[in-house]
Symmetry: C2
Subunit: 341 residues, 2 copies
Amino acid sequence: MSKPYVIGIDIGGTNTVFGIVDARGHVVASDSVKTLKYADFDDYITSLKDGIERLLRANEAEDKIQGIGIGAPNANYYTGEIINPPNLPWGPVIPLAEKVSEAFNGIPVAVTNDANAAALGEMTYGAARGMRDFIMITLGTGVGSGIVVNGQVVYGHDGFAGELGHMIVKRNNGRICGCGRTGCLEAYCSATGVARTAREFLELRTEPSELRNLQIDDITSKEVYDAAMAGDKLAKEIFQYTGTILGQAFADMIAFSSPQAIILFGGLAKSGELLLKPVTEAMNKAVMSIFRGKTKVILSELRESDAAVLGASALGWEAKYRSDLNPSTPKANLPVTAEAD
Amino acid sequence: MSKPYVIGIDIGGTNTVFGIVDARGHVVASDSVKTLKYADFDDYITSLKDGIERLLRANEAEDKIQGIGIGAPNANYYTGEIINPPNLPWGPVIPLAEKVSEAFNGIPVAVTNDANAAALGEMTYGAARGMRDFIMITLGTGVGSGIVVNGQVVYGHDGFAGELGHMIVKRNNGRICGCGRTGCLEAYCSATGVARTAREFLELRTEPSELRNLQIDDITSKEVYDAAMAGDKLAKEIFQYTGTILGQAFADMIAFSSPQAIILFGGLAKSGELLLKPVTEAMNKAVMSIFRGKTKVILSELRESDAAVLGASALGWEAKYRSDLNPSTPKANLPVTAEAD
């Protein structure tokens, strides 16, 4: 009964990338449409449907799709909806799973946010194969997370669990975060956090640094990385500072779920040892002795160009929602609730 | 096939309490033996076995036991062992599940630590019936936790997950904790933490307070509670301080697993609104807006005298380890590990 392929769809602010993926995590073929070209959600779905159908025909895969998995910002696994997306124009509640399933004759569809999709991709095809307990941390513009416990993604009672970028790491005098609060991990350990640290260091300190030759307001984490790799002492200290905060936060995460590994993905993770070394040192110093030395910090094994589609596709294997089964209730994957007697 | 009763055993530093429990959480009968009377573990097991067999005969329940669940400090669900217990004399690794199963002709036995047992008890018989995602926090001499995600206790890859009492709540200048680190939640929000706060407040501040009539070095959380209930302003502030730290920590826990409820148990939880009010206020103020107002903070519904045995017994329903099946490998409940190809 089961079919050889799934479709993975990654809805980003600029492009929607989709691909046909086999059970070994090979992207058979992929293509994309512009996400923001369509003011109307139905037009977007039509364009996406046309693009996917073209890809299926070109690869003779029309009847070989087991399910569709979609990663999108603020996507809710339980309801199949995108809720209050900051960068999409189609309203506060977008019935994503329902509409995509309808467009493909009721094929099973599941949705989740980008970081959870990344965790599923890593578990299905990447560095977390065989692991039942791990945490995926995406270090990009923000800090995202996907948590796996007992082999299952942690969605929480409302489908929004796993916001580890918004653990508070500075209780007093913390930086303002995009979420409206202060002191979040994301404000320090994202790519933008590194740039903010660079600006702070350059203002508050007096040492010479290559970074002083740059426009301080436009400085990027990549420039800090390049300077550190070229031996700049202040730039190295910026990574030391970033890694220490991240490693201390990892120690708290370990107290929660004792993962076998914490897997890093995203632009800042490409800093490699420059970040990994202070992270691991700070984590092992800060963690409870019962956990010390047990949790590995490792890098994603998925190619960055494939990762988003692969992660989304991993969800396709377990998708259950079909638009034809529940036309009136677009709830994709509601948890089974036990009866209290 | 399934039988009407389980046995719950709670191994405390002073007493080992055991009881026969039915599926509705009624403790049919219970008794206890002294934990520390036996320098040799085998003698302890013999005494425990005699006590339980007496109880079974008296209640005509010899053939009606589905399984045995045991709660003990530092007990590991996966291995069935007690590891490095601070207050037990039987060595660094105690093969608890194996020996108890042997003593009862290979009956299924499962073990876990006290806080996880409390969470299972609450889910099976108490305030968490019907919940698939919640966190149990025990506020006693220390701060323990049992986390449930997708209806399953979070044991982590090594069986030791759920040490939320050792999240770091003060990164700088934090109090020394019994775990050897500084700034842990437990150092502030346990019964002893409240007493420490009282001593700090009395030393650093000058307001009059009933607490000044007490021996400052022997002050207890109960005395602070009594003073607060009698209207003492400083005592009330101590609870405000404690509750604020606890509520802020809850906000971080919610970012992790988005639980439907956080359930409080233990001596300090009996402070009721005096603690609940500042906890709830601080939590709702500190939590991300996406989670605000969703997670309830509630009190355990289990009677304190029954709770430990009930919690342990809840594990008996799902126990699988039988000494006769795996005589050479005393691993109680090993996780299934998927093959990585």
